[in-house]
Symmetry: C2
Amino acid sequence: MASIREVAQEAGVGVGTVSRALNGSGYVSPETKKKIEKAAKKLNYTPNELARNLYHNRTGIVGVVVPDLDHPFFSALVKHIEMELYEQGYKTMICNTVGISRREQEYLDMLERNMVDGIITASHGLEVEEYQKQTKPIVSIDRDLGARIPLIGCDHEKGGELAARLMLAARRKKVLAILGIAPKVIANDRYTAFMKMLKENGVTVKQEVMEWNIFNWEAYYKFAEETFRSHPDIDGIFSGDLAALACLNVAQRRGIRVPEELSIIGFDAMAPSSMVYPQLTAVRQNVELLAEVSVNTLLDLVEQRKNVPHRLILDVEMQPGGTA
Amino acid sequence: MASIREVAQEAGVGVGTVSRALNGSGYVSPETKKKIEKAAKKLNYTPNELARNLYHNRTGIVGVVVPDLDHPFFSALVKHIEMELYEQGYKTMICNTVGISRREQEYLDMLERNMVDGIITASHGLEVEEYQKQTKPIVSIDRDLGARIPLIGCDHEKGGELAARLMLAARRKKVLAILGIAPKVIANDRYTAFMKMLKENGVTVKQEVMEWNIFNWEAYYKFAEETFRSHPDIDGIFSGDLAALACLNVAQRRGIRVPEELSIIGFDAMAPSSMVYPQLTAVRQNVELLAEVSVNTLLDLVEQRKNVPHRLILDVEMQPGGTA
DNA sequence: CTGTTAGCGCATTCAC
DNA sequence: GTGAATGCGCTAACAG
């Protein structure tokens, strides 16, 4: 509540001196510095960040846009992004788009209005053009938004191949891939690679597509039940963690033995995949590293520290489990 | 990038007029208004929110402090808080304290520095005194921070009793309660009520205490294994969702039949409790309502809309499952 | 070494 | 109806 002017008055000096003393910029005699600090303490002075922001034209806030915070992958991602940003002196503003592209757009607008210094987006409902209009720092996770916007993601192709290899090792013959990913996102490559390798080896591969922007458990569960009705003869399933867990649950309920009769392989290997019994076999993304790389790439842009590569692909590995 | 002054120049009017025209405050002739709008569009003018913030001494940002975003309860809570805040025109800044009270303190400081208009805290590592120093709006979830700070939470006592009733109905004789909650938090009441009712009915109740600020699955799992080693004779377990899920997993691995030989009841009933087979029996908190009430209480304070009650306790119910 | 001054961009007086 | 002037709180450049 107390302003810098009041502190200056109390200490009997000018505002500039107070500013320098408290910020450690420029020279202030030890003596007057003491006086100023005493005055500041007495008045319980706290600098008003809003005024600072206006002057510096920055806020130290980074916007993080995700489709759904209550999804294990995104909650873990945001957690680690927040922690990394904090380490580097930034704050995190979040936005759930829940499939509403208007909300995504509004966050982009906040960039223009200087509310945030940069954006990390993992929600992909808008057209690429909207992003390309922007001139301020943006980093994209899992989607190519053009040459000026760095893309960070994991090696989805390798993930798909790792899964395919497991299916082959288990001699599966009729496998289902459940695609639940936004169009235009590199995450789709996991299915392409998966199906390609299996087909090359004479395995029959079917596919089902889930609404990509629905993330609640009910929906996954219903979809799994429907899947078993329409594909009673499959002996393998590959999909995102949650759909895989739903399939596992329905299989157990139906008395289908996993993995003897049916292999189930997930993608992401987030916490819930370890909670079930048997533990889900799944391709693991290194979310922590993903967060770290995304943040550092963005801040390289924000602070113009150095040039950043346009495409950064992180390694994946297979989390062993009991379902394949 | 274009400022209001440039727009004024382009339109050949004064800055005040531009401000009034674009904000709809005060009178502007339809004619000049047109001119101004054209100029604004031409220059691609966007008001600088930082300047506005300084003038109004507000940011429209609410800080949300939680121990760990990557915990199903908190990720769901933050998701719904964010959505509700968005509906009301506010943005959400998040902070993972991950058990570090310094981080909690820093967020409190941001209140003083006017970076956020208010705070919703569900992380309770700091002493009450630190909160009571604050004069700006704060709402607390699950912990009493003194008369001036509203407390929102669910009816933990009732939850504990609902669980106890199920244990009694299943004729359990040696029950274990796993406490994993911060000290001084009303969430502890669930265990107090649970144990009280069971003891009154002649049931033996033991208890174990987990580090309250550890939230990763590994820790839960290890704790569960240790629990079965040291308490091989129990026939009932009551704890938070994640510890309960870990116990269920270990029990299944050990070939203990649930619920025939062992009843397991969780608290929260978040998504992962539905993913396992059998589904976890658990006390359900209405997170959505909790978020809505917290946000509205805070904004009543921020906008001084009306007086708010100091204590708001929400109902709970039992989520049926197959583990009790 | 330190006080004064001039903005940062906007919103709101208050004369005209 | 409208323009000019003032201030939000702070920082940095500039005299002194």
